[in-house]
Symmetry: C2
């Protein structure tokens, strides 16, 4: 059986990407990160999803990106609300080099497991303008990965960065996830979770909530998570 290392944040994109890998016949080695992100609740979602996917292993790696900062997700910079995300500018929710760090750990694990395929839920269409979600970036990472590692240099493995959502609209991702049986109640998208009376709600107004809400609406599917 072929296997894949799958980056799994617990969001809709990485979850759908993991379900695509699963439905393509891959055994799933799920990889999540606790990087002191504002929305660490997503890790609990990732755990649920890894169980639902019957992942062969779910590894959670912890490090402190708040010591580096520079993002609304890892520092006290405010998460933008109700902003029209049509300007083309890269927003403050961008986390410097985050996908590069995530993919680097995925590469390390893939090498140890002798796995060639790495899946990432990167998306370059209805996305937030992040540079590390573009095809040219992912291609450059793949080239680098095949020069970086013992197994690639020895010709034993050739790493592939698979980004099956790269050219899908957010609404198409929800549609695909729905077809594949994703339990959307187990996913988390909100950058700025709000706790009230012991319940954690999605804010409903950050970029990530706005994209999610619109995509569910356009599919005429009810979004099962709680918004404030």
């Amino acid at each position: 059986m072929k296997n894949a290392v799958v980056l799994l944040s617990g969001g809709v994109d990485s979850t759908t990407s993991a379900y695509i890998a699963k439905s393509s016949g891959y055994g799933i080695y799920a990889l999540s990160f606790d990087y002191k992100q504002r929305h660490r609740i997503e890790i609990e979602c990732a755990k649920k999803i890894a169980r639902q996917l019957e992942a062969k292993q779910h590894l959670i790696i912890s490090f402190d990106m708040s010591s580096i900062g520079g993002s609304a997700l890892t520092s006290d910079i405010e998460v933008p609300k109700n902003r029209p995300n049509k300007t083309g500018e890269i927003p403050v929710t961008y986390v410097p080099a985050r996908n590069t760090i995530f993919l680097s750990f995925a590469l390390a694990w893939a090498e140890v497991l002798s796995i060639e395929d790495i899946f990432i839920g990167a998306n370059a269409i209805d996305y937030s303008g992040y540079p590390d979600c573009r095809p040219q970036y992912l291609e450059a990472f793949e080239s680098m990965a095949n020069l970086a590692t013992k197994v690639a240099v020895e010709g034993k493995l050739r790493f592939r960065i698979n980004a099956p959502l790269l050219k899908l609209k957010k609404s198409e991702i929800i549609k695909k996830g729905n077809e594949l049986g994703v339990d959307f109640a187990s996913t988390w998208s909100c950058y700025n979770p709000i706790s009230k009376d012991g319940i954690i709600y999605a804010c409903g107004v950050c970029d990530s909530c706005l994209f999610r809400i619109e995509a569910f609406k356009s599919n005429d599917i009810e979004d099962p998570i709680r918004y404030l």
Copy 2:
């Protein structure tokens, strides 16, 4: 004043690379990693060296690479002793994707600090056969880095991976470090430190010790650290 993010393990190579950056006029932002390596004592050395270099900041990032394993430095695989390192094969002390992970964090920090120059003590001559110490790898990382990041995509910064030791022999590195005033007593090279009667000794027989001992000898410089 120009600044650099400098990967500083506490070894002779990264220390000499940091001194080269310092002597070239860079302010030093030193970056070290506690990745549960067998020779974590090197972090204490890195702290001393950062102070000696008057680093503007010394950031230590912690994560657990033993959960990934696959190396004699992060798992219970034994560190080879007295091996003739002439076979050209990549030894078990290779840590999968380690430099890629380290450089990725360096890239994140450099972006936040608006610093273009990253220094790494990689060396492709008298080295241990690690694929992520070769020029083609470092070039590929640099290309990827300039596609990965907001500041590069916006044309504000262009990241450079500087590897000033890349083509030096180990003996030439010691010579250079000596000229620049490196305090070798504050450096650590041994992969397999041995504690005895409350003192930590270098083993003297791992690859890293063998390279170090030979290089000091050929420079006719006394190595001030303790060997078992």
